[in-house]
Each structure stands twice: as C-alpha cells, then as structure tokens.
C-alpha cells in the first residue's frame, strides 16, 4: 500500500447558501519519501486535499489511508493522537504561540509524547540546530524575522520526527532569500531524512523542488510530467 492513498475522495462544504465541492472523486497514490507539490488556482481545493491528508478535516466519502492508518474510520481523539505522531504541519503564517519562546514553541509537540525533560531538550536542540536557529532559542516570535519564524515552525513540525510533512504555502509570506532558505531546508529534510512532503504552493520556483507535481482544478487532480509546471 502506498504511503498516502486516496480513493474516490469527495469533499463538499457550505459557503453561505451554496454548496461547494472542491474535491470530487479524487484518487491519488504517493509513495513514502516523495516530495509532492500541489499547484492550482485559488479555491481549487489544494488546501482542502492537504488538510484531509493531514487529518485536520474529514472527507464526505471515499477511502483515505495515510501511513497505514484508515483516517475515515478514526474518531477525532484518535486523529489528534495520529497527527501528533505522524504529521508535521507547516502553515503559510508560522502560527507560533506568541507568549512562548522559539524553544518552547518547538517543544510543544513533544508534550504530547512520553518523553523525559532531558529527551525533550535533546530533540528541541537538534531541531533548532537543523533550522540554524540555536542562537534564537530564547527569543519570542515577535523578536524574530518572518523567515526565522517560519524556520521555527519547521523545527516544530520536525521535532517529533513525523514521517509526513505538509506545508501550506510555506514561502507565501517570505522574501526571496528567506523563501530560498525554507525550500532548501525542505529539500534536505526530504533527501537526508526521508520525510514525505506534501506542499501546496502558487510559486513556480517553489514547485521546482517537488519530485512529483500535481495540479488541481475544478475538483480534478492531474499529475504533471517532469519539468512541466502548469
């Protein structure tokens, strides 16, 4: 079985009086260790698809297996546990907790795991070192630049060593240099640590980092040939 497997997934939601169907009978298979990029116009359902894979939203029907778990059959409590162990989520905005330091933000996922204080410290230190922010550990988010905040968010996403990273426009709010740094970091995590990455982006330059690229439009998912970006 593929690491990520979607079979005839349909998702609808209400927007005012209208029913919107961002995903209609979508099927997809992604092997472990892939760096997949989801492209498509705004409102095409990219983020919806990513949220389903990351178990923070539920499909209306279809089959959805990720990392060996049948997400369609799990309770919300079980999904929360599953997310803690299997998914690192990188948002467009860093969504760091403003009252916690960079160190404490990175430590947050580890409070959900049966680890000693020393183990937590070791993991947080390694994660911060991986994103090159050891010297910013005691800074609050407001004391960091946008790029640094996003790197802290990546450290938070990888600190529990989940097999899957999902990233929703991770470079959308960053300048060129910061965006390059973040994308290079994701490349390394994919190549060196074997993380499966699912990234939503509008940025063609970011899309070039993907080993597989998909486009989603009007509820239809299509894989692009290597080198093709639209």
């Amino acid at each position: 079985m593929a690491f990520i497997e979607l079979r005839n997934i349909t998702k609808t939601y209400r927007k005012g009086e209208h029913v919107v169907t961002p995903l209609a009978d979508v099927s997809l298979e992604i092997e472990q260790g892939a760096f997949c990029v989801l492209l498509g116009p705004s409102g095409s359902g990219k983020t919806t698809l990513m949220n389903l894979v990351a178990a923070i939203d539920r499909a209306d029907r279809g089959e959805l297996h990720v990392a060996g778990a049948d997400l369609m059959k799990m309770s919300s409590g079980a999904l929360a546990d599953w997310r803690a162990q299997n998914v690192g989520y990188i948002f467009q905005q860093s969504n760091l907790v403003p009252v916690l330091t960079a160190y404490e933000n990175v430590e947050l996922p580890l409070w959900l795991m049966p680890l000693s204080a020393a183990e937590r410290h070791q993991r947080v230190s390694l994660a911060l070192a991986a994103v090159g922010l050891t010297d910013r550990a005691e800074h609050l988010p407001k004391q960091l630049s946008g790029g640094q905040e996003q790197r802290v968010a990546i450290a938070r996403a990888i600190v529990a060593d989940p097999p899957l990273l999902v990233a929703d426009e991770p470079t959308g709010n960053l300048d060129h240099d910061s965006a390059t740094g973040v994308l290079t970091l994701l490349d390394r995590l994919n190549r060196e640590r074997g993380k499966t990455i699912l990234m939503v982006t509008h940025d063609p330059r970011a899309a070039e980092h993907g080993t597989r690229r998909f486009t989603l439009d009007k509820g239809e998912l299509r894989e692009l040939a290597p080198g093709v970006l639209r």
Binding site: G77, Q85, L100, W111
Partner: protein
C-alpha cells in the same frame, strides 16, 4: 499519552490582554467579597438570635402578646410566684435564677443637660434588669465597670456601632438620656454573637418608674434540667389568671430568626444577580480571548492537541484569574466587612468573616472561573480546525 499543554502557556496568556485580565480579576474579587459579606450577614442574622438561646432557659410571656416580648406584660411579682410555686428552678448564688425584665424601644440622646430640639436622637433598645439578669443570661460578660445602679446604664458592645458614633461618647462616665431622665454609663458588656450587645441595660425598678409601669415585659427562668420546662408549663396552665405562655429561649430566638427569612432570601437574591452579571462578563471575556486566538488554537489542534487539552488550558487561565481575584476579594472583605455592625430595627449584630464565609466567597469565585469557561470551551470543541486556520 500526556495531553496537557504546558502550564506556562496558560500563565503567560494572562499577560496578553492585561486590562481585560485585570477587569476580570476585579469582577471575581467583587463576587468573592460580596459572597463573603452576604454569608457573614446571613450567618450573623442566624447566630445572633440563636446565640442568645439557652437550653435550660424559658421565657414567661403574656399569652395575649403574640409572642412579642415588647408588647408583653406580666405581673411585677411573677418572679417570686414562680420561685415559690415551681420546683426545679436553678439556684445561682443562693437565689433562684429568674430574671424579670422590661424590654422596650426608646429614643436615646447623648450627653448631659436638658433636651434640645436640634440634637441627634438614636432609636435604641433598653432593657430593665435586676442583678438576677446576670445569673440567667450566660452570654453576657461585663467587660468594664459594674452592674447598673439607680441613674446608671450598662452599655452593650455594639451600641456605638449601631448609632454610628465615636466610641468615646459611650465611655465610662458619659451621659445618656431617655424616657426623660439622665443616666451615667457605669459599664460595658459583651455578649458575642447575640443581639444583646446592641442593648442598654438599666435598673428595672427605675425604668418601671420612668415608664409609669407596675409590671414587667417577661421573666426569664432557668431550670435545673435543660429542656425540661414541664413544671413551668404546668404552673402557666394552672394560673390562668396570670395569662402566661412558656416559650423555651431556643424556640423564641429561632422564631425571631425565621421572621427575618425574607431578608436573608433577598440578600442571596441580590448576591445571585451580581454573581450572574460577573459570570456573564467573565464568560464574555474568555470567549473574546478564544476569538482573538482562534488561529493559534487551531494550530495547536493541528499539532496534535485535542479539544480537551485546549479547554483545560483555558480553564487554567480562567481559574488563575478567578483565584487571584478571589484572594483580593477576601482581603477586601476582611478589611471592609469584618467587625462592621448591621442594624436591624432597634437591634444590631456584628459581621464576622469566618471560615465558612471565606470558603463560600472563594468557592464562588472559583465556580465563576469554571462556569465562565463553558461558552469558550464549547466553541473550542466545535471548532473546525481547517476553517479556524483560515481566520485572519
């Protein structure tokens, strides 16, 4: 799996909106202080009457007085009649423990000299007594001076607070005027937790003369066996000419306490209204805090924290505010409530911040903190993570 957010998260969140935190803590303080005051008032009202009750003492009242000691009149010689006719009367100091007394309301004036139209007057409760009163009323202790002789009064510890005057004006040697006569203060007495402390005691014979009465209001009779008033009741039934009714003091003061039940209910109702207002304010504040942090809370859910972990953290925030406000409220109550006297008609009682009122006040503020979390908790539990992550 441990699923709780670190306590530091809840603690530091209190500093994100300092003004809002402060206002919520102050409303919690108000609730705690108010509950302490209400509890002290209700308990004071209860104990002030029950405190004067004694299991071995009954009151002989006129049967036509509808159990009102002020309206009651009994024959002046009743004490001697009871002593001679009823067995089982307790002997104290070689004499039967029977105290004939006049109970009356009067208009009191402070200081010596003739009555002046522009001087303040005070509605007080005057009791005409003999030395036997001290053998019957166990709660009474003379704290300074001595029992009153002709032209003298003994003043209760709460009279000054009831009249809201400088205590120096009721010092030994100061003058009081009522019923057209001038009295010198010869002593003070305490009777903690009873309405006796709000009374002025003067010799019975002199008060009879001043009020042109040849009777008493009632006789307090102490028996050898607590609760056994059978002989006293038999005496009252046999002497129909005296038109007497025997009421154990426990019954008499309980009925007096029951009379004030509507006031107690009103006090609780007012407290409940203010608590409800504070609850609404607290819930609104926490709900606003959740609204402000919707995306952040959704991110925590995405990281793997369940709804209960978030609700628990919000409850910690709410309880921290409520508890600190509660402690402040208890301190305010200690300063502004404790020891104050409450006047009721011509009587008064002291408000005491005791363990029960502290417990009620603090528990009330904590309950406020817990209940105030409910709307925010419901919102977090219902929250769609995906939708909340799109919040601006």
């Amino acid at each position: 799996m441990a699923r709780a957010l670190p306590f530091d998260y809840a603690l530091r969140n209190l500093g994100r909106r300092p003004l809002r935190t402060l206002l919520t803590a102050l409303s919690s303080a108000l609730v705690a202080a108010l509950l302490v005051a209400t509890t002290a008032f209700v308990r004071g009202l209860d104990t002030t009457f029950s405190g004067a009750a004694q299991a071995d003492t009954a009151i002989l009242l006129s049967s036509v007085a509808e159990r009102d000691v002020v309206r009651s009149t009994v024959t002046a010689g009743l004490s001697d009649l009871v002593a001679a006719s009823v067995p089982g009367i307790r002997q104290i100091g070689g004499a039967p423990a029977i105290s004939a007394e006049i109970h009356m309301g009067s208009t009191l004036r402070l200081g010596p000299g003739p009555e002046r139209a522009d001087e303040p007057t005070y509605a007080g409760f005057v009791r005409g007594v003999t030395d036997r009163a001290f053998a019957v009323h166990d709660a009474v202790t003379i704290t300074s001076g001595r029992p009153p002789r002709t032209g003298e009064v003994l003043v209760g510890a709460l009279v000054g607070k009831q009249f809201d005057i400088d205590p120096a004006r009721l010092a030994l040697g100061q003058k009081l005027r009522f019923e057209g006569a001038e009295f010198t203060i010869c002593g003070h007495f305490a009777a903690p937790g009873t309405t006796l402390e709000a009374e002025v005691w003067t010799p019975l014979a002199e008060l009879r003369g001043l009020t042109k009465r040849d009777d008493s209001s009632a006789a307090f009779v102490r028996v050898e066996t607590p609760g056994d008033f059978g002989d006293l009741e038999l005496f009252a039934r046999r002497r129909l000419d005296l038109e007497l009714v025997v009421i154990p003091t426990a019954t008499y003061y309980r009925e007096l306490s029951d009379y004030f039940a509507p006031i107690r209910a009103l006090a609780w109702a007012m407290a409940a209204l203010i608590v409800a207002g504070a609850l609404f304010g607290g819930a609104n504040t926490l709900n606003a805090a959740v609204q402000d942090r919707l995306r952040e809370l959704a991110a925590l859910r995405a990281v793997g924290y369940g709804g209960f972990a978030i609700v628990r953290s919000l409850s910690q925030e709410s309880l921290l505010i409520a508890a600190s406000g509660g402690v402040l409220g208890l301190a305010l109550a200690r300063v502004f409530v404790s020891g104050n006297a409450v006047s009721i008609a011509m009587s008064a009682f002291s408000l005491e911040v005791d363990a029960v009122s502290v417990l009620v006040g603090f528990a009330g503020s904590l309950l406020l903190g817990i209940l105030g979390t409910a709307p925010a908790a419901a919102r977090v539990m219902r929250m769609s993570i995906a939708a909340a992550l799109k919040e601006p």
